[in-house]
Symmetry: D2
Subunit: 269 residues, 4 copies
């Protein structure tokens, strides 16, 4: 049994499924349009219990998961969603101890997922040229306690990255093909490159440019998540679904003098 | 620049895209039907280079990613694939330090992904009743160096789990609804439960049974991965795709005496 | 070049893509919130031209397609959409001359597609127990000039169908499994049966019941339509798509004394 | 009850689900690797019955649907499948009486679906430059008795179409954008244009070119068909599905001097 502590960040889910994130401070009060709750009544309460507002509305008290945090993130830009994040972590082989570059930071959703994956020994180097975004992303990372694994750079990545020999680079920028020299400079041989672009034209543009650099084992994919109404006697998919977020492209950098075997049509596994 | 070392597990990709996993031992020889290579010629070689067999066929020398390992796993059962693994890790909130139970172990694909995610401070408790599977899974985990984060139990989970107060439980068994008492026994309040089942009948059976236990915030989903041919001037999806692996169900255990707010139709976010 | 005639039903598409259906009557006036147009100005105008409201807003003058009519149908119920209608017509083999039963009529979308497919020699027998729906459906069919190919019956189909030896029967009702005796009574041996249900539970219930009657070659399917933004330089799917309408089930009735070959697992083509 | 007649084209489905098309001729014999059946034993037999080969293997005797014919078509090229055909018929508004051009004919799958839809009053004009394909398509149409509704032209469509003022034109050629002048020449104002292309590059190329001609209300879509194993107690999608066939593009030709309203972003319905 774990008890909610002062300074814990907690998740309260209302009867209507609305989600509230609260950092507990003795003496503070949490307000909603269905009544308020004193933080003092939450501190020391076991997680997984129902608490009630002063007018009786129920809330379930939980620790927020990283997924909850990502979905509830304060956004100043389109974020990358968990259905893509999971694939990104696998295809960039981001693991405990990895050193990873990402650009741009945006609202910090990927930053958060990367920081969570590389901790405690690894490091995320996150580049963003827009100061406002960097400020929001930094605060978002602080709120979930992952900021210590991230180094933020306010920088136009056309100027290059400070790090070299990193394990992976992910670009979430409009024209990723413009930065392949910088990526190659920073990435170790055998390292992982990835990007997410919304249009097919961008996929083609990137694939053309990747052919001019020492990249290998390139993959392009998209992922469709289909959620179901969790009603046992009337099981069916939700009526509306996300139709598109973007195309994921992954590749591995090899030695610049590698004489790569010619890709053979139909040989993709 | 990183060099392949003796005892490294390396990945060699042939010109046809065939993938070979090799653990380097001085004096050994790697054999394929397009010629062989002495391990001695690989030891000390930088990763990301092209090496050639004694009859000249090229191979790219790489460190295998966890994704590579999962796709190349020695299998004695249907495995859970990365497209589902990423969602499982997010929805069970498996992170560095988590204590997680899974059953059954099968070939160890999920075990591997869990071990990788909880390391170095966390622990995976993996239950399997079939001794042969456990043997293969253990060997698979050893090959990727993740066995130290896993405790295997040869056990029918009807007898219950040894651990209590764990952060998450995942069941990959035919009738997960039979084991909810054991799951509730092991899982902390607020902890995460997940399962993967192939048929809609199983989804319904589980959803009915979940209603009899203190579970909350239940979600059902499936994920479709669509891969594209990475040809810039003729971009198109692969002709054939995986049509189905299974349905994922996730829920959170709450306190057994929690008077849960009634779920309201259509209020899921 | 075809000219719009008095009594023609025309389609006017506004600059914002809004679609208006108008039956041309000399002296009438068509009103919108971006101005009005005299029907007299439309009568004698060639199709495919741009016409302007009295305050200058442009509209494209077109003959409505059956697809346009279906999407613009006055609805008193959930309708079946073209993505399913096309498959229904194929799997029920509805052709010029076919005699087809459907129940319930609903708003008449399927009725319209069936009538259009069987004309001029065939016939649609459409059953509906709710008088209000029948009234709307009849008017919808009249508006598109297909009512002469349809016989409407206000009837609870538990009482059976009037027709026998029909080529196909389609049920769009909540519990189609309850009416298989009536379906078998009406359908010729070798005839086609189909239904659309929203939940997996209904699919299972129907499949169980189909096994008790002489049905053969049963298929279950769903269809996902993915629309793209038609922008050549930024080609991408629409952000949101329909996630689910329903599951289609098709089967063929055979002779009641047919000793059917046992279905063999995995033998479906 | 309908009886199989001499000269009928019948469908025989074996116990393993294998489908055979046979045209009944007195005295002929139908041979398979599980035995043979005399046509004389089939002539006069009611449809929907089980017949047995001389060594006792069962076959179900059915009239082939158009769907059966399409799936069993003798192919000399990639064909267009029913999941796309249904949408093509709707979006080109092909109906009884329509006059429709298609190019290229290929194996005649679309030709067959168009002929079936326009009969008895309409007409299909089918263009193909490869004599061998035309020969196969013509035979395919004859086998299903639809050849009288089709006029075949052995012609490179760069030379233009013979017909004018047709209701619809469908191009199934590699570079449809090259033939828009010919399409505009043949198509009435307000008429329907459609095409199917496998790659995103082709979609973009066509969309760019459509902007140079008087086309309006352009739509791009793809359709995914998901089939389920029809097992009531273990309902689940098939493991493997068709991942891609092609992108459908539809548009309507308007008057060449039409000053089209500017399309407004996000206004597509």
């Amino acid at each position: 049994m774990r008890l909610a502590q002062e300074n814990d960040r907690v998740l309260l889910i209302s009867g209507k499924g609305k989600r509230y994130f609260v950092t507990l401070r003795a003496g503070d009060r949490f307000h909603t349009n269905v009544g308020s709750i004193s933080h003092n009544d939450l501190i020391g309460k076991p997680y997984g219990r129902v608490v009630r507002s002063h007018i009786g509305h129920p809330f379930v008290l939980l620790r927020p998961s990283l997924y909850d945090e990502l979905m509830g993130l304060k956004r100043v830009s389109q974020i990358i969603y968990p259905k893509e994040l999971g694939l990104i972590l696998f295809h960039l082989d981001v693991r405990c101890g990895s050193r990873v570059i990402e650009a741009g930071t945006g609202s910090g959703a990927l930053t958060m997922a990367l920081a969570n994956a590389v901790m405690p020994y690894g490091r995320v180097y996150s580049y963003e040229s827009r100061e406002e975004m960097l400020r929001v992303a930094r605060r978002n990372l602080e709120e979930v306690g992952l900021e210590e694994y991230v180094e933020f750079h306010e920088r136009d990545i056309a100027e290059g990255f400070d790090e070299t020999d990193v394990d992976a680079v992910f670009l979430d920028v409009r024209e990723p093909w413009d930065y392949l020299p910088q990526v190659c400079q920073a990435l170790m041989d055998g390292g992982f490159f990835g990007t997410l672009v919304p249009t097919t034209n961008q996929v083609s543009a990137l694939l053309y440019e990747l052919e001019r650099y020492p990249f290998y084992d390139t993959r392009v994919m998209e992922v469709l998540l289909r959620e179901y109404k969790p009603v046992p006697g009337r099981l069916r998919p939700q009526d509306v679904m996300v139709g598109h977020t973007g195309y994921l492209i992954f590749s591995r950098k090899v030695a610049s003098d590698a004489e790569l075997p010619a890709p053979e049509e139909g040989s993709e596994d």
